[in-house]
Subunit: 455 residues, 2 copies
């Protein structure tokens, strides 16, 4: 097999929740107040992301109402769409854009997870990705027959097994299982349809799945765990890893660690893409960029800032009554998202932030890297991270929509293209084509052993 | 409130699984062999149904691979799309057509069910319906951690509670809960967001749901149970009831029973629509219709006919080795779909069918009423049932696609319109608008008690 060597280029995801990214996004004059629940607005965002040649549209998810504004979009996130259902509706309205939906392993059965993602993958012609998460809130647990959430380690054990079962189910039909011969009446080859026969700690699943594979094999597996449990899961199963860093050096440490773990797990490190989050404030001048930052900051209500910090640190930090212009008090340990708690503490300490300064800084992207500057300055940063073992690409979190997304597409993308760092046309029609990830060979197919050996 | 009196008209659902309805549909020259897994084909079917002014596109569902052809579309149904995901993709490509997706209460959590249907309802602008089923096969049970399926009565108890919880979750946000005032920063009124606080035999769900209501309030509840347990559930919760009958008199018995049960449950019987299934073979002459029937019958393989009868009678009837031109042997009782087992027995007995004649007859629609004739003859039958307390409308199951669907749309619909029995334009944009069903008042809203009293 001959292989054309192509220069390595940046991969880009777009985080575009209709309610906005910044806690006060919905109060921005450009942002529609009903963005979170407007299908037309999500359609506009998807089409803009495709115009910008983004690899994928990404959406987070939660299994409970997020009260008090402690999440992306703040209070505007109180209600919205289930991401797979939404992406399915957006798929036929786009041609190349990938769709990475978050879905929890904690409160769904693998057979249902496998089906909905396989369906989205088939409907979109191979453009689906699954962001594998565990669900870490008491509120969600109480919507699923429990009084309190499962411990961190237990959630990750379940997640690991859940992903294994889903991937096995996705291989139920070999690609040449379908004969479909009208003359003989033979529709499929029973020898090419396979049971899963999984029996594990959490699940017993016989299979097969009743949805076939798409043209990209199966959805791209995405993961965002930063903790030890999370990194182990990511290195074992993820093809794209979302991550949050404030500095080049911690991003590099994470990048090298993940690549080393992937190699140790017998995987090709080029097939594990590390993509830190970046929240861009783009101005034609530095002053204009700074004005944009100051403007949206002015829309943050104190109570929403307090709720945001409470949410990001695990839901047990009540700052009401504290002096907001004083330092952040100690954060109680919880069974919630451990890595995010540590990151918030770190940002407060190393910048010497007051409570107010802290929530203002994390309001745009909850701990993801915030860059404020001209297209050239922002491209410089992305290039530095990309060329120095900190990133294979980035997840772009424009603070509000549509204008902050338009700014990135119209000003930063051309600068990256000009430097040869970003595509000028989609490489293909599937998410794997564009991310440069291989089509996974079906574990049951004759070619499976050969391919494994060649990797 | 003034009310315009409108002549009562027939409501029509379209059962359009891409693999076809008849067991041998995929072998028909007009039917694409890959229809079951082709999104483009489903799009064509949806657009044809909308051209025909159907109320809704309906899809069944199963939680295991259907081996051996014992279902709609026969072996072509071995793999396909999850219905809610598929309908979501079809929604933006249509304007008025409703989408009624089947989803099981047996192996999903109510919070997840409520979310995906509420999302579809919002995306489609109020065009979603949920066909509530219990899942009755060993194969499905074994995909969800069990060795064998739950008993019939236990499934229905769980179904009843599941529907109650879902409906409660759908009322989490009152319609005027969203303030969305940029100036003050108030996004929603906390007093108008409600917990569910359900604690029951199967589920404990605190709520609220994180998806708001659509313009039709919530998805239309559809049900198809024929057994005592099924009728009780239908009368208590369903707004549309699918049913299968071979004769006017049994259809009338069912119709009157359901309406009486609805009244006994304190409901308006006009808000419980009874819609028997009809499988039409339409010809410009009676002979042409009969030729169409004979032609597709010729495509049935003996083994598929045997598998079909096994599937319809609960999965324990092995007819291999029997004389196919002899009578149907006794059918063993199972915990599967009891009513369908009885119907198949009845068809065999009252027609004196051999095994072969029986599977040929039920191959087109698995026990639904088969009509073979001219547009005038078919319209006569529908009119007779509609005007004599047997039906408020019909679910049309064209045996193969697209031509058998086109025949119904191009030949039968105009005949019904000519008689004033069917709409010539959609009444509105929501499924409830077109079905003539009221928007359910939110249980938490101030107007709730008044409306209940007025009904």
């Amino acid at each position: 097999m001959t292989r054309q060597t192509k220069p390595r280029q940046i991969k880009l995801g777009a985080f575009l929740p209709g309610g906005g990214q910044h806690v006060a996004a919905w109060r921005h004059p450009d942002h529609p107040v009903d963005g979170a629940t407007s299908f037309e607005f999500h359609k506009q965002l998807a089409q803009t992301a495709e115009r910008g040649l983004f690899d994928a549209y990404f959406l987070a998810d939660g299994l409970a109402v997020s009260f008090g504004g402690g999440t992306e979009g703040g209070n505007a996130k109180v209600a919205g769409f289930e991401p797979v259902t939404l992406f399915s509706a957006l798929a036929p309205l786009t041609k190349n854009l990938g769709f990475i939906a978050t879905a929890s392993t904690t409160y769904e059965e693998p057979y249902n997870t496998a089906r909905k993602f396989a369906s989205l993958d088939l409907i979109s012609g191979g453009r689906a990705g699954w962001n594998v998460v565990t669900t870490a809130t008491e509120a969600a647990a109480q919507n699923f027959n429990l009084d309190q959430q499962l411990p961190h380690a237990a959630r990750y054990r379940r997640a690991q097994e859940h992903v294994e079962v889903v991937k096995a189910l996705w291989d139920s039909f070999e690609d040449d299982a379908f004969i479909r011969d009208k003359e003989s009446g033979v529709f499929y080859d029973t020898a090419k349809v396979h049971d899963t026969d999984h029996v594990g700690e959490h699940f017993k699943v016989k299979g097969p799945l009743n949805v076939p594979r798409s043209s990209q094999g199966h959805p791209v597996i995405v993961q965002a765990g930063q903790s030890e449990d999370g990194r182990r899961l990511a290195a074992a199963t993820a093809e794209v890893i979302f991550t949050a860093h404030q500095h080049l050096d911690t991003a590099q440490e994470f990048y090298r660690d993940i690549k080393a773990r992937a190699v140790a797990a017998g995987r090709n490190p080029d097939h594990v893409l590390v993509m830190p989050g970046v929240s861009p404030f783009v101005g034609r001048t530095e002053a204009e960029a700074r004005e944009k930052y100051d403007r949206i900051t002015s829309y943050i209500l104190e109570e929403d800032g307090i709720a945001l910090l409470n949410g990001l640190t695990g839901g047990t930090l009540d700052l009401r009554g504290h002096d907001l212009d004083g330092p952040l008090p100690p954060v109680p340990a919880t069974e919630g998202m451990k890595s995010r708690q540590a990151l918030i503490r770190q940002i407060a300490d190393e910048n010497g932030f007051t409570i107010r300064q802290l929530y203002q800084w994390v309001a745009s992207a909850r701990g993801h890297y915030t860059v404020i500057g001209t297209p050239v300055q922002i491209a410089d940063t992305l290039q530095e991270w990309f060329e120095n073992e900190a990133a294979d690409g980035f997840n772009i979190l424009p603070p509000w929509f549509p204008t902050a997304l338009d700014d990135f597409v119209d000003l930063v993308i051309p600068e990256l293209q000009h430097r040869g760092l970003f595509r000028t046309a989609y490489e293909g029609t599937t998410l794997r084509d564009n991310l440069g990830l291989p089509v996974p060979v079906n574990r049951h197919s004759a070619g499976h052993r050969t391919v494994q050996a060649a990797e």
